[in-house]
C-alpha cells in the first residue's frame, strides 16, 4: 500500500516538475510566495507555540547516551534525560534529580569512601506522568550492567558498584566494591558524556536492543522525544511533568544538516536557530553572516603536542628536559592564539585548563627563542655543519634535531598551527617535518598499528580533555604503556616517572575533592617543570546562533544545553 502511495507521489511530483519546467520559474516562485506570508502570520500571533530548530551536522546513533559515543547523542540527553546533577555555566555542579550531592561533611559519603547516599527530589515524575523513584536509579545501574543490553558502550564506574539499596522512594544507598574516585560522573549528564536515569516501569523485563526506547525514550527532562524521523529530524516537546516546571520554548526541532556550509546558510535564512559543532576556523564566517552571532566556549579540551618519551623507540633528544623546554619556549603559542584563533582562547600551561583542578599558579612558558637557543647549546646541540639544523650527541650517537610531527589531516587550523610552529622551531635550529595522517589511521588501536598507540611516532599532536572528573584514565601511568601483552594501554606518551605515577595512584584513592585537587595541582607542577608536553591552547566549542534565540550560557562542562529550560525566543 505504502509503495503504491510513493509511486503515486513520485508521479505527482514528476507531473508538477514537468509543468514547472514548461511554465518556467513563475510556478515555483508562486508557491514560495504563498509560504512567506504564512511565516509572518506565525510571528504575529502571540498564542502560537514557540519553536526553535537546532541544526545537527551528525545524527545520533541512539537517543540513550549510554548506547552512543556521540556528543550529539549526549546533547539530546542533556535536553531530555537528566541525571542526578549536571554542571552549570561556571562548571559547578547543579542539582537535577538529586536534592544534594553526597558529601563527606554531612555523612552521605561514608568514612571509607565506599558508600554514597543519594537523595532524590520529592514528587519527581517521568514525562509520561508515572512517579520517578529511587527504584529507577537502581534499575538504571541494572540496565547498564545487564548483558542483554548489548548496545551499552561503557560500564566504567558502574562496574565498581557492589549494590544499591532503596530504603524509601527518594533514597538510594550506593555501595562500591572499591573506591572509585570519579564517582560524580555516574548517574549524571555533562556536556560530553553521561547517563540519565531510565524508567523501570517501561523497561523492566525488556531489552534496550529490541524495544524502541533508543529512538523514543521516556525520560524526565525539560523536553521529551515526540518523534525521530531518522535521517531527517527529531521533535522534542516541552514536558509538563518537568520538576522545574514547563520550559519556555514549546517545541525544539533538531534537523540533520550534514553540510557546515548549508548550516551557515540556514542560520542566515532563519531555518535554523542554533548550529553547534562549528570549528574555530568558522568564527569569521559566522561573525560576518548577517543576523548570525558566534558563541565560542573556551573548553577544557586542549590542543597539545606530545613527545614520544619512550627511551627505546622515541626520538632520543626528547629524553633531555632541556630540549623539551627549548621547544616550548621556541614555539610562539601566543601569536597562534591571537591570530589563528582570533584571540578567543588562551595559551595553556597544563592539561586541565578551565577545570576546578587547574593549577592556575603555572604561567605558560613565555615565547623566548633566545633562552630556547641557550638551552639547546647547553644540552650540547649546535649547528656544526652549517645547514641551519643543530646536531648533538645522544646516547653516544650524533643526532640531528630533525623529526616528524604527526597530527590529523585534513584540518586547516592544525595545518596552520603546524606551519607556524615548524617555522618557529627552524629559527632556533630544529627541523619539524609534517607527516599528517587521517584521524582513522592516527588514532587506530594497537592491533591496527595506529602510530600513536604503538609508539611509532616522534612528535604527535591532538586534542583531548579530562572532564568532568579530572581522572586522566591511565594516560600517564607506567603500567598503561601499550605493549603486545596489554595493547589497550592508554599511555600513548610512553612516559614513566615514578613520582607522577605515585600521584596518579594517590588521586584515585582520595574522596575529598579539595585534597584530590591538590594532588592534581602537584602533578601539573611536575609535568610543567619537566616539560612533558607542549600545551598549546584551550580548544573552542563554536556555535552559530540566529537572532531569535536567547538565554544560552555556555560552559566547558555543561556546553549550552544544561539550561535548555531557560532558553526563550524573542518575539
Amino acid at each position: 500500500m505504502k509503495r503504491n502511495l510513493f509511486v503515486l507521489l513520485s508521479l505527482l511530483v514528476l507531473a508538477s516538475l514537468v509543468l514547472a519546467a514548461c511554465g518556467g520559474a513563475p510556478e515555483a516562485t508562486e508557491a514560495a510566495a504563498t509560504e512567506a506570508p504564512g511565516a509572518e502570520a506565525t510571528e504575529a500571533a502571540a498564542a502560537e507555540p514557540k519553536t526553535i530548530t537546532i541544526g545537527f551536522q551528525q545524527e545520533p546513533t541512539s537517543l540513550y547516551p549510554q548506547c552512543s559515543n556521540m556528543t550529539f547523542a549526549v546533547w539530546v540527553g542533556q535536553m531530555t534525560n537528566p541525571g542526578m546533577w549536571t554542571w552549570d555555566g561556571n562548571n559547578q555542579p547543579i542539582m537535577e534529580l538529586a536534592e544534594a550531592m553526597p558529601s563527606v561533611a554531612d555523612g552521605t559519603i561514608s568514612e571509607d569512601g565506599l558508600t554514597y547516599t543519594y537523595k532524590l527530589k520529592p514528587d519527581l515524575k517521568w514525562s509520561d506522568g508515572e512517579p520517578l523513584t529511587s527504584a529507577d536509579l537502581k534499575f538504571t545501574w541494572e540496565t547498564i550492567m545487564n548483558d542483554a543490553n548489548t548496545c551499552i558502550i561503557s560500564r566504567l564506574g558502574y562496574d565498581s558498584i557492589a549494590s544499591i539499596e532503596t530504603p524509601d522512594d527518594v533514597t538510594a544507598v550506593v555501595t562500591f566494591k572499591e573506591f572509585y574516585a570519579p564517582w560524580a560522573n555516574l548517574f549524571a549528564m555533562s556536556g560530553n558524556s553521561g547517563s540519565g536515569l531510565v524508567p523501570k516501569h517501561i523497561l523492566e523485563g525488556q531489552s534496550l536492543d529490541t524495544g524502541d526506547f533508543q529512538r523514543k525514550p521516556v525520560t524526565a527532562g525539560a523536553y521529551y522525544v515526540e518523534e525521530w524521523v531518522q535521517g531527517d529530524h527529531i521533535t522534542l516537546q516541552a514536558n509538563d511533568n518537568y520538576f522545574r516546571g514547563r520550559p519556555k520554548i514549546d517545541t525544539i526541532f533538531i534537523k540533520m544538516v550534514p553540510s557546515r556550509e548549508a548550516l551557515l546558510a540556514a542560520l542566515q535564512t532563519g531555518d535554523i536557530d542554533l548550529g553547534p559543532d562549528f570549528v574555530e576556523a568558522s568564527i569569521p564566517d559566522l561573525e560576518s553572516t548577517p543576523g548570525v552571532s558566534a558563541i565560542a566556549i573556551t573548553s577544557s579540551s586542549f590542543e597539545h603536542y606530545l613527545f614520544n618519551l619512550d627511551p627505546e623507540i622515541g626520538f632520543c633528544p626528547f629524553q633531555d628536559v632541556r630540549v623539551r623546554k627549548a621547544m616550548i619556549l621556541g614555539i610562539d603559542r601566543f601569536t597562534i592564539a591571537d591570530t589563528l584563533l582570533f584571540g578567543k582562547t588562551r595559551v595553556v600551561s597544563n592539561l586541565w585548563p578551565n577545570t576546578p583542578v587547574e593549577n592556575t599558579d603555572l604561567e605558560p612558558y613565555p615565547f623566548d627563542p633566545e633562552q630556547a637557543a641557550a638551552l639547546l647549546d647547553e644540552a650540547g646541540y649546535t649547528d656544526t655543519d652549517g645547514d641551519g639544523i643543530r646536531e648533538g650527541e645522544c646516547n653516544g650517537e650524533t643526532v640531528k634535531l630533525s623529526f616528524t610531527h604527526q597530527t590529523t589531516t585534513p584540518n586547516q587550523l592544525r595545518a596552520d598551527v603546524q606551519a607556524t610552529a615548524a617555522q618557529n622551531l627552524l629559527d632556533i635550529g630544529i627541523e619539524m617535518i609534517p607527516d599528517n595522517k587521517d584521524p582513522d589511521i592516527l588514532f587506530a588501536g594497537y592491533a591496527a598499528d595506529g602510530p600513536l598507540a604503538t609508539g611509532n611516532y616522534q612528535l604527535g599532536g591532538y586534542t583531548t580533555s579530562f572532564i568532568p572528573d579530572p581522572d586522566p584514565a591511565g594516560n600517564f601511568d607506567c603500567d598503561q604503556i601499550p605493549t603486545d601483552e596489554s595493547p589497550d594501554g592508554a599511555n600513548w606518551y610512553r612516559m614513566c616517572f615514578p613520582e607522577l605515577d605515585a600521584l596518579m595512584l594517590e588521586q584515585k584513592s582520595v574522596a575529598d575533592p579539595v585534597a584530590r585537587a591538590e594532588i592534581f595541582k602537584e602533578a601539573q607542577q611536575f609535568m610543567y617543570d619537566n616539560a612533558l608536553f607542549i600545551p598549546l591552547y584551550a580548544r573552542l566549542n563554536v556555535l552559530g546562533v540566529g537572532p531569535r534565540l536567547t538565554g544560552l550560557q555556555g560552559s566547558a562542562f555543561g556546553d549550552v544545553y544544561w539550561n535548555v529550560y531557560d532558553w526563550d525566543v524573542v518575539p
Binding site: F6, L9, S10, L12, V13, L14, L17, A20, A21, A28, T29, A31, A32, A33, E35, A36, T53, Q58, T61, S62, C67, N69, D147, T150, C151, I153, S154, R155, L156, D159, L208, Q214, R215, V229, Q230, G231, D232, F253, K255, M256, V257, P258, S259, E261, A262, L263, A265, A266, Q268, T269, D271, I272, P290, D440, F443, G445, A448, A473, S486, D488
Partner: protein, 318 residues
C-alpha cells in the same frame, strides 16, 4: 531469448558473489568497526564485551559466511551503530532517494532530448553555440559548487532581497505534502540535472547529427514527410540508442542516491546513509547498500540489453 536471460542471470549471481566477497573484505580491512567505540574512555573489559557482541572476535571468513548466510535469506542483519535492523534504516531512506533521483533522471532525459535534438537540427546556430559553451561549463563544475551556489542565490540571497525564495532544505517540512515536496525538490534536482544535462545533450547532439546525414533520412524527406516526423520518428529512434545505454547505467544508481546533493540540501537519502555509516564502520549497512546497488546494476544491464532489441531490431540476442 529465455535461454539468454537465464544465462545472464546465472552470470549475474556469480558476479554478485564475487562483489560481496571483495566488498566485505575491503569494508572490513579499510575501517575498524571498533574505532567509534574507542574514542571515549572505555575499559579493556568493555571493549572485549562489545567485540564479542558484534561478532568481531570471530575470524573474518566466519563473519563473512555468517553475513552471507543471512543475506541469502534476505536478512541484512543489525546496524552495529544504531542497534536496529539494517532493512529498517534502508526502507526509511529509499522512498526519499527514489523521489529525488527519479525526478532528476526524468528532468535530465526530457531536457537533454529536447536540447540535443534542437541543437543538432540547428547546428552552428547561435543557440547551438551558446548551448555548447554552457554544457562545457556545466560539465566541468563540481556538483558541490553548483549545489551551494544555487542555494546561496535562490534560498539565501532571494530571501534577503525580499524576492520569492526556495528552501535551503534545512527547514522542517513534511515529505508527504506534495506542494512542499515540489518546492524542496527544485534546487537539489536542478543541481543533479545541470551536470548530467550538459553531458547527455552532447551525446544526443552528436548521434543525432550523425543520423541526420544518413541516406534514409534524405529518403524520408524526399517522400515528402514533414520535418517534424522525420526527426521524431525516424532520426530520434536511432539517435536515442546511446542514450538508452547511458540511462541503463544510471538506473541502478538511482537507488544509491547522491551523496553530495543529499548532504548539501539535507535530503535524507541513501547516499547520505551510505556515507555516514561507512564513516562509522557500520559494515552491515554498507554491505546491504552495496549489494542492493550491485544487484540493480546486474539486473538493469539485462534489461538494457532487452530494450536494445526493441529499439533496434537489427540487434538479436543469442
Amino acid at each position: 531469448m529465455t535461454n539468454y536471460i537465464i544465462r545472464r542471470l546465472v552470470q549475474g549471481i556469480v558476479i554478485l558473489f564475487i562483489i560481496t566477497t571483495l566488498s566485505f573484505g575491503l569494508t572490513r580491512l579499510s575501517s575498524d568497526p571498533m574505532a567509534q567505540y574507542t574514542l571515549g574512555r572505555i575499559s579493556a573489559e568493555d571493549r572485549a564485551r562489545i567485540r564479542a557482541n558484534l561478532g568481531l572476535d570471530k575470524p573474518l571468513y566466519v563473519q563473512y559466511l555468517k553475513w552471507l548466510g543471512l543475506a541469502l535469506r534476505g536478512d541484512f542483519g543489525y546496524s552495529i551503530t544504531n542497534h536496529q535492523p539494517v532493512s529498517e534504516l534502508i526502507s526509511q531512506r529509499l522512498p526519499q532517494t527514489l523521489v529525488l533521483m527519479v525526478t532528476s533522471e526524468v528532468v535530465i532525459i526530457l531536457f537533454s532530448v529536447f536540447l540535443g535534438i534542437y541543437s543538432a537540427v540547428k547546428q552552428y546556430s547561435l543557440f547551438d553555440n551558446i548551448l555548447t559553451g554552457l554544457s562545457f561549463v556545466g560539465y566541468s563544475l563540481p556538483i558541490f559548487f553548483i549545489a551551494l551556489m544555487l542555494m546561496f542565490i535562490f534560498a539565501v540571497q532571494f530571501k534577503e532581497w525580499g524576492l520569492p525564495y526556495l528552501p535551503t532544505g534545512a527547514d522542517i517540512w513534511d515529505f508527504s505534502d506534495p506542494s512542499e515536496l515540489t518546492l524542496h525538490l527544485v534546487l537539489p534536482v536542478a543541481s543533479l540535472a545541470l551536470i548530467q544535462i550538459a553531458a547527455y545533450t552532447r551525446y544526443l547532439r552528436s548521434s543525432m547529427l550523425e543520423i541526420l546525414s544518413q541516406d534514409y533520412i534524405r529518403t524520408a524527406r524526399a517522400k515528402g514527410l514533414m520535418n517534424r516526423a522525420v526527426i521524431m520518428k525516424h532520426a530520434l529512434r536511432n539517435a536515442a540508442l546511446p542514450l538508452v545505454t547511458l540511462i541503463g547505467l544510471d538506473v541502478p544508481f538511482l537507488l544509491g542516491g547522491a551523496i553530495v546533493t543529499e548532504t548539501v540540501f539535507s535530503w535524507p537519502g541513501m547516499g547520505r546513509l551510505f556515507w555516514q555509516q561507512a564513516g562509522r564502520g557500520d559494515f552491515p549497512t554498507v554491505m546491504a547498500i552495496l549489494l542492493i546497488v550491485a544487484a540493480a546494476v546486474v539486473i538493469s544491464q539485462i534489461i538494457t540489453d532487452i530494450v536494445y532489441t526493441m529499439v533496434d531490431p537489427r540487434i538479436r540476442l543469442s
